[in-house]
Every structure is written in structure tokens, then in C-alpha cells.
């Protein structure tokens, strides 16, 4: 059974600080997503990582993928309050036409304190 684990589950950080969220998964996959979810809202796609060594950056967020280690990271630089949300990683699984689904991690609740 594919498992996707995130840590930490909860992260309280001060504005201006840096931190990293980790996403480990238990089987091979060449496609990993990061999503953001604000309270009471749906999911917003942040990054799609397609291959080993992929790195993508948008503003204060940077995501990377190491398929050999089955690890993705979401790095936050100089956090601001607007980044407060729950962040999910999700691994895409594909069974040759039978299924295309995402397996989600447990989520990391990020609270950025002024």
C-alpha cells in the first residue's frame, strides 16, 4: 500500500524565518504535487514536480524532488503571514490506463506569527 507521510504535521513559525516541510512516499512515482488549502476552501495547485532533481520556485516557496530517496521538500523563505495555510503533498499513481489518482499526505498546518 502506498503511503505518503509529511512532517511536521503542524508548524508555527515567525515571520521572516525559514523552514522546510518534508514529504516521504513509499513507492516509485515520477510525479509529485504540492497543494495549498486555506480554511474552508478547496485545494490550490502550487507545484508539479516531474522528475528526479526537479526544483520549482514561486515567490517564497521552493519545492524539490528526489525520486531515488522518495522525498520531496517544500522550503519556505522569510515567511509572511499570508503563507498561513495547510500544505499537502500528493503522489500520482498510474496503473497503465486503469487508474490515475493522487495519494495525499496528511498535510502540514502552517501558522506564521507576526
Amino acid at each position: 500500500e502506498l503511503k505518503v507521510e509529511q512532517n511536521p504535521l503542524f508548524l508555527s513559525m515567525q515571520e521572516g524565518k525559514n523552514y522546510t516541510i518534508y514529504c516521504n512516499y513509499s513507492t516509485t512515482s515520477d510525479r509529485l504535487y504540492w497543494y495549498r488549502q486555506d480554511p474552508g476552501k478547496s485545494l490550490e495547485s502550487l507545484f508539479v514536480l516531474l522528475s528526479n532533481g526537479a526544483v520549482k520556485q514561486e515567490g517564497r516557496l521552493m519545492a524539490s524532488l528526489d525520486t531515488k530517496a522518495r522525498l520531496s521538500t517544500l522550503h519556505i523563505t522569510a515567511a509572511v503571514h499570508d503563507l498561513s495555510a495547510t500544505y499537502f503533498c500528493a503522489v500520482q499513481v498510474w496503473y497503465g490506463g486503469a487508474t490515475n489518482k493522487l495519494i495525499f499526505g496528511t498535510g502540514t498546518l502552517l501558522a506564521v506569527q507576526p
Binding site: V4, D30, R31, Y33, Y35, K41, S42, L43, S45, V48, F88, A90, Q92, W94, G97, A98, T99, N100, K101, L102, I103, F104, G105, T106, G107
Partner: protein
């Protein structure tokens, strides 16, 4: 353009009643997915439709859950004889082709509360 829409946004029902949740995917998207998100948890895959192929129902938690899709448009998720553990947000997503290179676009969800 319009995104994925879902209705109702909130549904409160009594234990034992049946409920129907609706999803309108992005126009032209052939793939449609249903997920469930329990309070404080990640999303659980429920069912996947791709064009006219047989749906992948491997994530449905029990035979009280079923889903239908009309062609490549609207889908309904039906929960019969609802139980309190069915309380969750039910999210629908669609993608252009259902291929490995697709990104899934999520709707706003339906929050189901079973009393």
C-alpha cells in the same frame, strides 16, 4: 473560464437518509475524480471516471457509496443510509485527459454533516 463546481456547498442530513452530491467538471475535461476529506486529514481517493471507460471504484469505502457520470459531464456521488462517519468534505476534481501528465483541478467541495 469556469472551474469545477459542486453542489450543494453544505449538506446536513439525518443518519439513515440518502444524499446526492453533484459535480460539474471543467468543460472538455474527460477525467473526473471524487475524494473525501475528513476533518483534519488528507484527501482519500474514492472513484475515478475516464471517458467511456469503466470507472475505478477501488476507493469507495462501502457499498453504500456509488457514483455515476453522464458522458463527460456531470457526476453525482450518492451515499445511501448515511452514517455519522460519512461526515466529511467531498471534493471533486477534473483533468483534461486523465493522463499521467495531467493536473487535477479541484472544486470547492461539499461539506456533509450527518447528525
Amino acid at each position: 473560464g469556469a472551474g469545477v463546481s459542486q453542489s450543494p456547498s453544505n449538506k446536513v442530513t439525518e443518519k439513515g437518509k440518502d444524499v446526492e452530491l453533484r459535480c460539474d467538471p471543467i468543460s472538455g475535461h474527460t477525467a473526473l475524480y471524487w475524494y473525501r476529506q475528513r476533518l483534519g486529514q488528507g484527501l482519500e481517493f474514492l472513484i475515478y471516471f475516464q471517458g467511456n471507460s469503466a470507472p475505478d471504484k477501488s476507493g469507495l469505502p462501502s457499498d453504500r457509496f456509488s457514483a455515476e457520470r453522464t458522458g463527460e459531464s456531470v457526476s453525482t456521488l450518492t451515499i445511501q443510509r448515511t452514517q455519522q462517519e460519512d461526515s466529511a468534505v467531498y471534493l471533486c476534481a477534473s483533468s483534461p485527459h486523465g493522463s499521467l501528465t495531467d493536473t487535477q483541478y479541484f472544486g470547492p467541495g461539499t461539506r456533509l454533516t450527518v447528525l
